[in-house]
């Protein structure tokens, strides 16, 4: 009985210690990455432009089909659910506002970020983890190249540029999906839908979603690369780091979304 209790206490202690180690490593990685990004801002030539374009292509156009599909379906589902409820109360005119606000402020950026986490965050972790297993990171360090500048900065810039653009397109197709439902279910004309959306959805909500997507892009790249650098040396380490990259990214994205939602609400309150 006492031995079990002691074992559990030891396990808890180990977990806390591990958590502390991971936190310290994440903070250290953030510092290393920030220094590398700053170096590339000061010396743009040091940025690996070919890699940057490759990752832009990887993060943007390659992820476009799945982003369009997911966001359009999210708009359709949202519109269906909202229409069923609001139609009972004759509040059909509020549907474009509900769909617009929900997609532009929350669902659009969130779904694009989750798709990007699954596609790119896991890929970053797997790529760097594999390099670590094959000791390529050690080779870079041996040659005097900072792995963060070499591997992380192009990914970060590419993601920071592409994710907001994907979010813009995702927002648009999400609203289009919502419109398809309203058009087919209650026969709402396009001009009415646009006018009601314009009445109910402020431009600031559009920019709110885009700003969120910048934050989400930073989280996805940081966590993906960090988990890649933290990959172990055994055979299943890459898979484990990939999984943890996705899970931690999604967790951090949702936490950041919560924080940002509160922050924007306070900001709008100040603004009136």
């Amino acid at each position: 009985m006492i031995k079990k209790l002691v074992d559990r206490l030891i396990h808890c202690g180990e977990t806390i210690y591990q958590l502390k180690e991971e936190t310290v490593s994440l903070i250290a990685f953030l510092g290393d990455m920030a220094a590398a990004i700053w170096e590339c801002i000061l010396h743009p030539k040091r940025l690996r432009w070919k890699d940057f374009l490759f990752y832009m292509n990887n993060c943007g156009p390659d992820g476009l089909p799945i982003t369009i599909m997911i966001n359009a379906l999210m708009g359709v589902v949202l519109a269906y659910q909202a229409e069923v409820q609001s139609h009972k109360y004759g509040a059909d005119n509020f549907l474009p506002m509900v769909i617009g606000c929900t997609i532009l402020r929350e669902l659009g950026p969130l779904m694009v970020a989750i798709v990007a986490t699954g596609r790119n965050g896991s890929a970053f972790a797997a790529e760097i983890g594999t390099m670590k297993i094959s000791e390529e990171l050690d080779a870079l360090r041996t040659m005097g190249i900072r792995p963060a500048r070499f591997l992380v900065v192009p990914k970060m810039w590419a993601m920071l540029l592409m994710l907001p653009l994907l979010t813009v397109i995702g927002d648009c197709v999400g609203c289009a999906g919502g419109y398809l439902v309203l058009s087919s279910e209650i026969g709402m004309p396009l001009d009415v839908f646009l006018r009601l959306t314009r009445q109910g959805v402020a431009v600031k909500y559009f920019f709110e979603g885009i700003l969120k997507s910048f934050v989400f892009a930073g989280i996805i790249t940081t966590v993906g690369c960090w988990r890649g650098f933290r990959t172990g040396n055994d055979a299943i380490a890459v898979g484990r780091s990939t999984t943890s990259a996705v899970v931690i990214s999604i967790l951090f994205i949702v936490l950041a979304d919560t924080f940002l939602a509160k922050m924007f609400t306070v900001f709008y309150g100040w603004q009136g």
């Binding site: 070919k50 374009l53 490759f54 832009m56 292509n57 943007g60 156009p61 476009l64 653009l165 994907l166 813009v168 397109i169 927002d171 648009c172 646009l194 959306t197 314009r198 009445q199 959805v201 402020a202 431009v203 559009f206 603004q271 009136g272």
Partner: protein
């Protein structure tokens, strides 16, 4: 990176940028660059529910937003500055193809004219959440706000305000409560107590018991009378009524036989011949009457002549012997009697 990938990346960026600007356009971001005008109003009541960004509607049409809410130093007047989108107002002509919005000067002139015609600001509830908006509407009958706007430096067109419906309601409720408070509940209660006491004393007095006894005895007597009446009706009165009915029948039969006899007598009489005779007699009587009239007229004339003769003889008795004198004709003095 292949050329295909570069093309794909470029196309993606172009599409995303186009969608971005289309989104901005749809959401009305370019409204920021359109011309706007400002209107100011003053309220002397709480503007709870109204905030910067609240809607401003002109006869129900959304035309702008509240841009600023500030309190004047006296602490009792609140200034509301409203931003009005001029695109909501058409140009001078009402032609369908004239969609040009008005200029700021034209808008200010229109607002001034509209205020003269009774345009007023009023806070209205926007929904069930308690948020409010400002409604610009014509209400020349309603009393304007008691704020003297000339005391405040207002550089925008000023639209007088009206108390909100909630304020009106609050005023009415306050007035009702004041009236309710003015009611002398204690006095009413005291009088009611006095009345109850009086009633109680009357009820407990011996006279009331006596009255009750009298009433009971009266009811008993009435009941007995009714019973007697019922008995009377049942026996004696019925026999008397039967006798009376039989006598009445006999009397009616006698009257009927008399009537028949009279009828027969009337029928047997020669009323037509009698009538002709009577008519002839009457005609003779009429004629006799006329003759009598003429005779009387002649007699009357004769009597007049006789009276005249007597008067003449009386005035001149010798005329009986000498006869009637001839009249002398006097030319110079014809006189009123000269004609005779």
């Amino acid at each position: 990176m292949t050329d295909n990938s570069k093309f794909k990346l470029g196309l993606f960026i172009i599409i995303a940028v186009v969608v971005f600007f289309a989104g901005l356009m749809i959401l009305g971001s370019f409204e920021q660059f359109k011309e706007k005008a400002y209107v100011t109003t003053l309220f002397s009541e709480s503007v709870q529910g109204l905030s910067v960004g609240s809607s401003v509607k002109y006869m129900g049409v959304p035309v702008g937003t509240v841009r600023d809410i500030s309190i004047y130093p006296n602490g009792s007047v609140i200034r509301i500055d409203m931003e009005i989108k001029l695109a909501s107002f058409r140009g001078k002509t009402a032609a369908p193809d004239d969609v040009n919005s008005i200029t700021v000067e034209e808008f200010q002139n229109r607002i001034a004219q509209a205020v003269d015609r009774g345009l007023r600001c009023r806070m209205e509830l926007e929904g069930i959440t308690g948020s409010k908006y400002i409604e610009l509407n014509y209400d020349p009958e309603a009393p304007a706000s008691a704020i003297d706007a000339s005391q405040y430096a207002i550089d925008n067109p000023y639209v007088p305000s009206l108390p909100s419906l909630i304020s009106d309601l609050r005023g009415s409720v306050t007035s009702i409560l004041a009236k309710l408070e003015s009611i002398d509940y204690k006095g009413i209660s005291d009088r009611a107590n006095d009345t109850l006491d009086t009633l109680n004393s009357r009820l407990s007095s011996p006279k009331f018991d006596e009255t009750l006894d009298n009433a009971n005895s009266m009811i008993t007597s009435a009941r007995k009378s009714i019973e007697n009446l019922e008995k009377l009706t049942d026996a004696d009165v019925r026999g008397q009524l039967e006798n009376l009915t039989a006598n009445a029948k006999v009397a009616i039969a006698a009257v009927e036989s008399l009537a028949k006899t009279v009828e027969q007598e009337i029928k047997s009489a020669e009323f037509e011949q009698i009538a002709d005779n009577v008519r002839a007699v009457l005609a003779n009587a009429v004629r006799a009457s006329r003759t009598l009239d003429e005779t009387l007229f002649n007699v009357n004339n004769g009597v007049d002549a006789l009276i005249e003769l007597i008067q003449y003889i009386d005035s001149d008795p010798s005329s009986i012997i000498q006869g009637k004198k001839k009249r002398r004709i006097d030319i110079e003095d014809p006189g009123p009697a000269g004609g005779r």
